[in-house]
């Protein structure tokens, strides 16, 4: 500032006047702009603008800047997924998610995380995601075509079939395929076998998530695996609590009004909490009469493991 002031002094009053005039004009311009925007609001920026749709054409026009463009599209894909997921509207289409992932991976065919996260994003059932497990598998197939040594893509494809499509035969085939790729861990082969034999049971699902949790280097994948393990634990706990609630209903001829009735009977040591620390809810309209709170970070539970019996009496 002192240097600037010295320079202004050196230039004399003329320079000071010019500086003041420039500041005044700029301030006026900004004020005028604010006034205009108040009277004529700016159109809302649409997040639906994709800029380009043809990944191959963009790749050619990138002039060697493919990788940085892929990063830009990857960031947009994350923002689109996160923004749509958090949005309040009921009609969540995630319509740009696949095109953005397609552009990202066309521009940078070795963008490992774009395939792996992208597949998980695409597979998440509505409203948490678009529920497009088919597109997730096709994205992973493209990843394998670009880098056939990445057994993780085949493992992820098996996982998508297992968890999101409940197609245990296809899942086992993908796990077998992954296990045959050089460098793949030994447990993929046993996972394929157990998927084929016991697909859909909570124990094999827990084993699969635990393997993913223990082998991944990525924080997001690890957190996601931890969440799913918590959900599986919650499902087991709900079953155990449902048995207690059922016993109460049989002895008293009505379901319990709140947890304190069961605590008073010493059937429970306290208000039961799910693995995230949120209390379970007594809901006579649900199978078993016990449900996870909607406030829980584990909500919603994977539908394939929920009991489909009628409400408790």
């Amino acid at each position: 500032m002192e240097a600037l002031a010295a320079r202004v002094r050196k230039g004399g009053d003329g320079a000071l006047t010019l500086l003041a005039a420039a500041a005044l004009l700029l301030g006026s311009a900004l004020a005028l702009q604010a006034y205009r925007e108040a009277r004529h609001p700016l159109p809302l920026a649409s997040s639906d603008v994709l800029y380009f749709r043809g990944g191959a054409a963009v790749s050619r026009a990138a002039l060697g800047f493919d990788a940085i463009l892929a990063d830009v599209y990857w960031i947009r894909a994350i923002q689109h997924f996160g923004g749509t997921r958090r949005a309040q509207e009921s009609d969540k289409t995630y319509k740009l998610l696949y095109p953005l992932l397609d552009l990202t991976t066309t521009l940078d065919p070795h963008f490992n995380i774009a395939y792996r996260f992208g597949a998980l994003f695409l597979s998440e059932p509505h409203p948490a995601g678009p529920g497009r497990a088919d597109l997730a598998v096709s994205l992973l197939e493209r990843g394998l075509a670009a880098d056939p040594t990445r057994w993780q893509y085949a493992q992820d494809a098996g996982f998508v079939h297992y968890w999101f499509r409940q197609d245990y035969k296809a899942a086992a085939e993908w796990y077998f395929r992954a296990s045959r790729i050089d460098g793949a861990p030994w447990w993929l082969h046993s996972m394929a076998a157990s998927t084929l034999a016991e697909g859909g049971d909570r124990q094999s699902s827990r084993q699969m998530w635990r393997q993913l949790y223990e082998t991944t280097e990525d924080t997001w994948v690890r957190n996601n695996a931890q969440l799913k393990l918590g959900q599986l634990d919650a499902l087991d706990e709900i079953d155990a609590l449902a048995a207690v609630v059922q016993r109460f209903a049989q002895t008293r001829g009505r379901p319990p009004g709140d947890w304190s009735e069961l605590v008073a009977l010493r059937w429970l040591t306290g208000i039961p909490l799910d693995p995230s620390g949120t209390p379970y809810e007594l809901r006579p309209d649900t199978p078993g009469g016990v449900a996870l709170s909607q406030k829980s970070s584990l909500h919603p539970l994977p539908p394939q493991f929920l009991k489909k019996a009628g409400p408790t009496t």
């Binding site: 060697g64 490992n112 996260f117 997001w220």
Partner: protein, 269 residues
Amino acid sequence: MARVICLVAYHVFKESVRDKVLYNLVLFAVLMIGASYLIGQLTAGQDVKIIKDLGLAASSVFGLFIAVFIGVGLVWKEVDRRSVYNLLVKPITRSQFIIGKFLGLALTLLVNIAVMAAALYAVLGLMLWLQPGLAKASIEAPVMDPQLLMAFALLYVQLLVVTSVALFFSTFSGPMLSAAFTFGLYIVGHFNADLANFEAVVESQAAGWLGKALYYILPNLAPFDVKAAVVHGQAVSFSYVALTTGYGLLYAGAMVALAILVFSRRDFK
């Protein structure tokens, strides 16, 4: 002879410093530090990859602009200011003048690229220091991957080719046209592989040959781009780097020779 060339080169370097060309390094540093903070919030654990991509892309863009905009003025400015008359009466040949000009800008670019590479390593080092877990999370390539130097080296050679093209145009054309021609060749240089296979998509044999001839005549710049491979930790062989560098240096040499040829035939009377 070498002393004269070095003197000219030194003056080109000094002039670029005086023209505040190296200020772009400050911009680069600010960009990298700012990005390293912001990127972490946006990229779901891909900070290191994106910082490397950004650092290499920014180095490439800054280098390209310096090579083109300084390169096109190297000779034209001397002619326009008429300082070329004073120069040519001194014991300096036209070829020494052109080679000196080229080497001067090459030195400026070298300093730029070296500082940018150091800044990128510094930012990566800082990220690693602040988040030690990054070392484990970066499964494709180490955070402080020495292979990044290969990308910087090839980028530098690519910029030498661009500089030589700009210098060539500068010997007979004004800065606007020279910049347009150089940028045009830069773009064409990235699509060159299409020309090599032109005969497969046209029926005329002559057109196919023409495509092939253009493929060899025009600069082939795409092979200098190993940014993505390096960032993904894919091996870039020493022989590939050596052959591509050899091609770049020979091509730049040829363009400088053509520039000397054109400049030598110019009549300044």
